[in-house]
């Protein structure tokens, strides 16, 4: 039982040690996990010895030490009795760990030292116990601010065990913390001589140098390693970090490309590091990651970088060239979903299409068609929806019908859409039927056949669909009915449909209940005929009283930039007291700024701020004015790098 308890404690300490190294390898993490699980298992099977009161010597000792904790601390600090046996060494080590847990650092340090002295005195020192004691000693000394006191002890260990990686690491780390730079270098050289074929000394020393901001010195060390040992993958991660810190982007990309092959967990670090490459250096990063045979890790890294840089098309190109296999398909699927969520429709369509071409699966085909439709490519969507599939015909037809009908509607081929609907509707339940009816109604509305649309709504499951009823009423020019249903639709619709918001805004301003021209204008919007819509809105300006500027503003939004500018100026000049006037000024300022006319932009913003001081747009206008005048940092400005304060 005692042995089991000891083993459990040792495992816990192994875990502690590994965490203390800030484990950077999967091996370390895996080992830590195993150690933790093992320790938990053993402890779960172990009675709590100090409570049982019937344990063996070690158990009783543990209990005793717990009960006499306070009084024994001083004695423990002064206890210099040499440890005489393996068993006693294990016991003292446990006492050290317990003292450390209780923050009794002096007592813990003393116990650790005793264990180290005993272990070094044996013919075949127990390496694990020595490492545990050494790391423990380092921890408690750092906590108590007496790190310099461990130097002689660690020096002795390194002298006895010149190849011991833990001892050498602790030694280097301690000397660095104490700022003994020359001694650190000597220690590093000694370790290097002791293990000429091992990259560890280079790696650890370079890491310490980088942590202290001495990138050039770290560079020298790593270059020396490469020169003496050849291009070694075990140093790639350090090299890459170094290159990033020195803004050598191409070299950093190359080093990461090597590193992530054997250390895939570095992909996130690589992404974080390379993401900062300025636009001018990105081509060199692309070249470096594209060098040689395409690997999944490098392609995925480049793809993620491109997405971060706002280049989704290039992101897909990086992945598309990979040889097709299961790992590639998984990467493609992840990319397709990510870009679909990010509304990069065409890129997402290409990724889904590539998956479909390789697998022929219905899900990929459906996503490909839907994303094509959302990108505005109705014909492409239709073609994708009609491609052959591995799935049975009925399932394909059911899955693709809504997309096909919507695509046909957008193409104005409503007879085909109606035919398809008639074929499918009989075999569908009510919920599935709605999925077909909506695009069909929108299709009929788009071609201007309100009667057909109304018929489907009244016959189908859409009779209570406020939004569709409201739109149809609006297109009919029945503003009263439209107001009622669209308002209800807006209160239950959380998607923030901008057309719905525009329509409601206008309906709230216009007092009249009937206006066929307004209906036609909105119908023109539904048919993507913005020129007609804009013209029809302007026709109404003289007949809607105080809502005139709202119509002009809506018309401006649908017009080309030149016409829009004229219309906004009209609002500012003729309807200066309307709520649309400050909005028009802000838009005019933005247009002027985009055209490079800073003076005009400033003048519009100044007018807004002076004439409309109470406007809700004033704070935004003031901020844009301050940016134009250079009074506040530019919106996308990165960190200031010339600071001397490092508080």
């Amino acid at each position: 039982m005692v042995r089991r308890f000891e083993v459990a404690l040792e495992m816990l300490q192994l875990l502690k040690r590994l965490l203390y190294w800030r484990a950077q390898s999967s091996f370390a993490r895996t080992t830590a996990g195993i150690a933790c699980l093992g320790a938990c298992y053993l402890l779960s099977a172990t009675p709590v010895l100090s409570q049982s009161g019937t344990g063996t010597g070690a158990g009783r000792a543990g209990g005793a030490s717990g009960s006499a904790r306070g009084s024994s601390t001083a004695a423990a600090v002064k206890d210099t009795t040499p440890v005489r046996s393996e068993e006693e060494a294990g016991l003292v080590l446990m006492q050290a760990l317990e003292a450390e847990d209780r923050s009794q650092y002096a007592a813990a340090a003393n116990a650790y030292k005793r264990v180290i002295l005993y272990t070094l005195s044996t013919a075949r020192p127990d390496g694990d116990r020595l490492s545990m004691s050494m790391l423990g000693l380092e921890r408690v000394s750092a906590e108590s601010g007496a790190l310099d006191s461990i130097v002689p002890v660690v020096e002795q260990i390194v002298f006895r065990r010149p190849t011991d990686p833990i001892a050498n690491m602790v030694y280097l780390r301690t000397l660095t913390t104490l700022m003994r730079e020359d001694d650190t270098r000597v220690a590093y050289l000694r370790w290097r001589r002791a293990v000429p074929d091992d990259a560890s000394p280079y790696r650890e020393y370079a890491k310490l140098l980088m942590a202290r901001g001495r990138a050039l010195a770290a560079d020298t060390v790593l270059q020396e390693a490469v020169r003496l040992m050849g291009r070694t993958a075990s140093l790639s991660a350090e090299l890459a970090q170094l290159h990033v810190s020195m803004e050598r982007w191409s070299a950093a990309a190359l080093a990461y490309r090597d590193a992530i092959v054997t250390q895939p967990w570095l992909e996130t670090a690589a992404l974080y590091g390379l993401q900062r490459a300025p636009a001018s250096a990105r081509d060199s990063v692309r070249d470096a990651l594209n060098q040689g045979k395409a690997t999944l890790a490098a392609a995925r890294l480049l793809s993620s970088l491109e997405l971060g840089w706002g280049e989704p098309r290039r992101a897909w190109t990086a992945l598309a060239k990979l040889p097709p296999d299961d790992s590639t398909f998984a990467a493609w699927r992840e990319f397709a979903e990510q870009t679909e969520n990010g509304r990069a429709w065409t890129v997402s369509r290409d990724a889904w299409t590539a998956l479909y071409e390789q697998n022929g699966d219905l899900n990929s085909q459906r996503h490909a068609a839907e994303t094509a439709l959302r990108s505005g490519d109705a014909l492409g969507a239709l073609n994708l929806a009609r491609l052959p599939s591995k799935s049975d015909r009925q399932a394909v037809a059911k899955a693709m019908a809504p997309t096909e009908i919507a695509a046909l509607g957008m193409l104005g081929r409503m007879n085909e859409a109606q035919k398809l609907y008639d074929q499918q509707i009989g075999s569908l339940n009510a919920n599935a039927g709605v999925l077909l009816q909506r695009p069909l109604v929108m299709g009929w509305l788009a071609v201007g056949d309100l009667e057909k649309a109304r018929q489907i709504i009244s016959n189908g499951e859409l009779a209570n669909d406020d939004e569709l009823i409201g739109w149809v009423a609006l297109y009919d020019g029945d503003l009263k009915l439209a107001r009622k249903h669209l308002l209800r639709a807006a209160s239950s619709n959380t998607s923030g449909n901008s057309n719905l918001v525009d329509a409601l805004g206008l309906l709230a301003r216009i007092r009249i209940d009937q206006s066929p021209t307004l209906g036609k204008a909105f119908l023109a919007i539904a048919r993507h005929d913005s020129a007609s819509a804009s013209r029809l809105f302007l026709q109404l300006v003289d007949s809607v009283g105080t809502a005139a500027p709202a119509l002009i503003a809506l018309s401006a939004r649908l017009s080309s930039s030149l016409t829009a500018q004229q219309l906004r100026l009209k609002i500012v000049n003729q309807y200066a007291t309307s709520p649309e006037a400050p909005e028009a000024l802000l838009e005019l300022a933005r247009t002027a700024r985009a055209a490079g006319d800073k003076a005009a932009a400033v003048s519009y913003l100044e007018k807004l701020l002076i004439d409309y001081q109470g406007s809700a747009l004033a704070p935004q206008a003031r901020r844009e004015l301050e940016q134009l005048r250079g009074q506040i940092p530019p919106a996308q400005l990165g960190p200031a790098i010339h600071s001397e304060c490092n508080s």
């Binding site: 601010g145 700022m179 202290r212 901001g213 001495r214 990138a215 050039l216 010195a217 020195m246 803004e247 100044e606 701020l609 002076i610 001081q613 004033a618 704070p619 003031r622 901020r623 004015l625 301050e626 005048r629 250079g630 009074q631 506040i632 940092p633 400005l637 990165g638 960190p639 200031a640 790098i641 010339h642 600071s643 001397e644 304060c645 490092n646 508080s647």
Partner: protein, 423 residues
Amino acid sequence: MKYIQRAIAITFILLSVVSQPGLAQHLLLPMDDAQRNHLKAYGVTFQALKMGQKAEWLLNYRGGSFMLPDVPDLRKKAALDGVSVEPVSDADVAAMRAEIAGANMDAVVLERVPRIAIYRPVDQPPWDDAVTLALTYAGIDFTSIWDNEVLDGELSKYDWVHLHHEDFTGQYNKLYLAYRDAPWFIAQRERDMSTARHYGKANVPALKKAVAENIRSFVEHGGFLFAMCGATESLDLSIAAWAVDIAGTFSDGTPPDPDADAKLDWTRTLAFTGAHLETSPYINALSDIDGHQVNVPSRRQSLGTFTLFDFSAKLDPVATMLVQDHRSVIGDFYGVTTSFNRAVVKPSVTVLAQEEGSPWTKYLHGDYGKGSWTFLGGHDPEDPEHAVGAMPTDLSLHPNSPGYRLILNNVLFPAARKKPRKT
């Protein structure tokens, strides 16, 4: 007939002036919590002076308000900047003056546009120096000057000079150890070495010593100096060390004089006396002047709050001007030099703010020769733990910053007309 025509014309002009819509006689810029943008209110006042108008600083009246003439251009500037203004009539002003006369308040006339220089590398963007940030945001004009201008004797062109976190001992705040390989640090060092060679100085410490001496002379001859962060401590150390080497080997190639501490000449310094140097190159501190020692982990003190002192507005208007604020307790902020140990502050110095119960002060003012100086510890009032590489502070997000107000008090203080002493 001619006289009648002239009389009608004059009457018309007078009527048109008097009946101008919306214009009162004065504009009050309240500086209490009613103000929407405290920082830009200083810019509006500066603009009034620039237009040749007189302004009044109503010390301790509603947070240290400003009274300006009600002219369209100032109304426009206030509206553009989002500064709250209250039109007041002569009768209102009379009531205000009565209130001011009976309380610890005073009205100080501001009548001169101060010529302002900021000591900073000319090519540096304005986002890493609290004063440059504040002046840029408020729309107050300034000129950037650097070592060349100082050594060429151009300081006399200015009324007010500001120093930020420069290390006038030439040791780069001992950041050499941590940043010697950083591209920005290398560029900065090369630039300073080149300037040193140009002026025949052997090294950067010698160059900065000469610059510090010129700044000392500027104050002695009547200039106003405002320093923040590391410039406060290092300027005095550099002045005290005019005859002794205090710079580490890494900065000038020679070790500091082993007896440097004893050889420092504190009779020439502005604020401090009897401080002890920190000569270890491994410890990121220049001396024991700073109470917080933020860059020395084992000595670092945590941030608290500092309290502005109240002064008699009528008897001590200068100190009162410097502490005008809508908050009297302000959150502290770190800098290379965050605070000043009271033990090393000269007895003649006026302490404007300190942390209650702590051994350090935060904000100091004093006279030196014909001029005066103000020291404020810390780097950025709205970025308490500013670090190298931190994002720049966007003051449009802090328009009511009480810490930044202290900086702007110093900008307007040289514009005040000196009152004759009632002795």
